[in-house]
């Protein structure tokens, strides 16, 4: 059995007990990558040399008693939209193909302080725009459960390399479901925390008001452990929130007695794959058996979340991605005639089709004469969605539903119809609009043997509720 079959916390325990060295752990990851990458393509960059150097340093720190964290020495994979000093950070885009940041993202620094060993940077949909990891400029990532299928996205690389046991845990980012949906497709566990819990400093922005970094791992324990480490109040991120309740591992309790779980009727209607529906409802029943109280309710506004999301995210993206212009970093076109031609050619050649599509839409909805009708309307809708969730959480501790309407589609099936692909985010997107925490945990397989994910949504700052519920479900051991 490979060391990569262990959870991050299990491996960390063995390292702490001197059963395994940090170098052995890093080598186990690198060996697994050698063996599996050709079929998975989950990494954009694997930094073998520095990973081993770093492993040596971390071993020394552990030996000297300088690092006590439960994941000290455990290898991690970082989504390629988080800046890592002197290490390529591409956002899976041609336009950043040669970009080496001068600084490291705050969340990654927090991991490094805890003794993490970065193995490499994972593939993603270009600039996190997509739900399949097929829009990457560096080739699609394959789903380890069936390599003819997509891993989901945009954190598809991070989820696939955990599912394929190429690395112990990973960081992803979630703007409209980009951690939860691929976690669901790949049969791994991922948390999107409350907005402001993990610093966005060094996360290359897609939709700034929606983006959050979160952990992706084999189980709830790993996720809670990693989330506890990466969460911090960062003075460099004005939207970072000072919290004194980030001891998420304290919620790893197998007990949902009396927990009120709301099930939105709309989440189980038209468009939901019957096998997914059955698996998710069975999961709910397992929790009920453990003493949770289930109740159906209406959350109709969710239908409006997708259009509101695409207006807000694309508008912000059109502005956030304006900086990629061939002047300061990244790709610059070879032949050009003057400044504006250089801008246009650089950007047209450097960005892929989906990114251009969203930049065009975002520029349009902000343009003169349309701002009120589109952007302000979307912000008002967002306010209503937040209000609807506030009302729901006045009654329930947790909201339960699927993470995605289907299991992983086949490669090449989704991109031809963008709108259909966008609809796949129906259960995850409203959570980002309202800034809420959500977790996806595996809850079964469909007839094709592809994983199904259960999504649990908490009120803002109530990660502990969803961690407790997810942990309790995991303990049912009927999950897959």
């Amino acid at each position: 059995m490979s060391l990569m079959s262990l959870t991050a916390v299990q491996l960390g325990e063995k390292i702490k007990n001197r059963e395994i060295s940090v170098i052995e752990a890093a080598n186990a990851a690198l060996d697994a990558i050698d063996a599996k990458e050709s079929s998975i393509n989950g990494f954009v960059t694997v930094d073998r040399e520095n990973a081993l150097k770093r492993a040596e340093k971390v071993q020394k720190d552990i030996d000297e008693g300088n690092i006590l964290s439960p994941i000290a020495g455990v290898p991690v994979a970082i989504k390629d939209n988080m800046c890592t000093k002197d290490m390529l950070t591409t956002c899976s885009s041609k336009i950043l193909g040669n970009f080496k940041p001068s600084y490291t993202a705050e969340a990654v620094i927090n991991l490094e302080k805890a003794g993490a060993v970065i193995i490499g940077k994972t593939n993603m949909d270009e600039f996190a725009m997509g739900s399949t990891t097929e829009t990457s400029a560096y080739g699609a990532t394959k789903n380890p459960w069936n390599t003819e299928h997509v891993p989901g996205g945009s954190s598809g690389g991070s989820c696939a390399v955990i599912a394929a046991e190429e690395c112990s845990y990973a960081l992803g980012s979630d703007t409209g479901g980009s951690i939860r949906q691929p976690s669901s497709f790949c049969g791994v566990t991922g948390i999107k925390p409350t907005y402001g819990t993990v610093s966005r400093y060094g996360l290359i922005a897609y939709g700034s008001s929606l983006d959050q970094i979160g952990p992706i791992a084999k189980d709830v324990t790993d996720c809670a452990t990693v989330l506890e480490i990466i969460s911090s109040h960062d003075k460099k991120d004005s939207t970072s929130i000072k919290r004194d309740d980030i001891d998420f591992t304290s919620a790893l309790v197998d007990d949902v007695k009396g927990m009120k779980i709301g099930i939105p009727k709309g989440y189980f209607g038209e468009g939901l794959d019957p096998e997914v529906k059955e698996a998710v409802l069975n999961a709910a029943k397992e929790l009920e058996k453990k003493g949770a109280i289930l109740e159906e309710f209406d959350l109709d506004l969710v239908d409006y979340a997708i259009p509101a999301y695409y207006v807000i995210a694309c508008a912000e993206a059109s502005s956030n991605l304006a900086r990629f212009d061939g002047v300061k970093y990244g790709y610059r076109t070879q032949d050009y005639n003057g400044l504006h031609n250089m801008y246009k050619k650089t950007r047209s050649e450097g960005f892929g089709a989906e990114v251009k599509r969203r930049i065009m839409l975002g520029s349009f909805v902000l343009s003169s004469g349309y701002y009120d009708a589109y952007y302000l309307k979307a912000l008002r809708t967002k306010a209503l969605i937040k209000k609807a969730f506030d009302e729901a959480f006045a009654k329930y501790d947790v909201i339960l539903g699927p993470a995605a309407p289907t299991t992983a589609p086949k490669l090449g099936e989704s991109l031809s119809d963008p709108l259909k692909m966008y609809l796949g985010d129906i259960y995850t997107i409203s959570v980002n609009l309202a800034g809420l925490p959500g977790i996806s945990v595996p809850c079964g397989l469909d007839c094709k043997g592809l994983p199904i994910g259960l999504q649990l949504i908490g009120d803002c700052f109530k990660e502990k509720n969803i961690i407790r519920a997810a942990y309790s479900f995991e303990k049912c051991e009927k999950k897959l």
């Binding site: 050009y336 400044l339 950007r347 930049i359 520029s363 349009f364 967002k382 209503l384 937040k386």
Partner: protein, 97 residues
């Protein structure tokens, strides 16, 4: 499709976004944008009268820095990734004629 996107609109948005589309991409963009706007028009079903637009979900405010110089010489960090540099500056095509 109720939102018909004209060539002029695509041209105009291209100028705003600094994107240059070929004819095929333009046709595709017209169709995609029209379809997305049709879908987005679904928002009009919602009565949002009197609802304040919400840009931040949490009522966090007054996040400040004190006015003290902390940063050191950032020159190398700026120029590290420059496609073209000269005399410690970034080089761009001439901006005035």
């Amino acid at each position: 499709m109720s939102n018909i996107i004209s060539d002029e609109t695509i041209e105009y948005v291209g100028i705003l976004a600094k994107l240059e589309l070929n004819d095929e991409e333009k046709e595709r963009a017209k169709k995609d944008m029209g379809e997305m706007l049709d879908y987005i028009d679904k928002l009009n079903e919602l009565d949002t009268t009197g609802v304040e637009p919400m840009s931040h979900v949490f009522p966090v405010n007054n996040v400040f820095r004190e006015d003290a110089v902390v940063n050191n010489d950032g020159r190398e960090a700026v120029l590290l990734n420059a496609p073209e540099r000269k005399e410690d500056c970034l080089v761009v095509p001439k901006t005035i004629v």
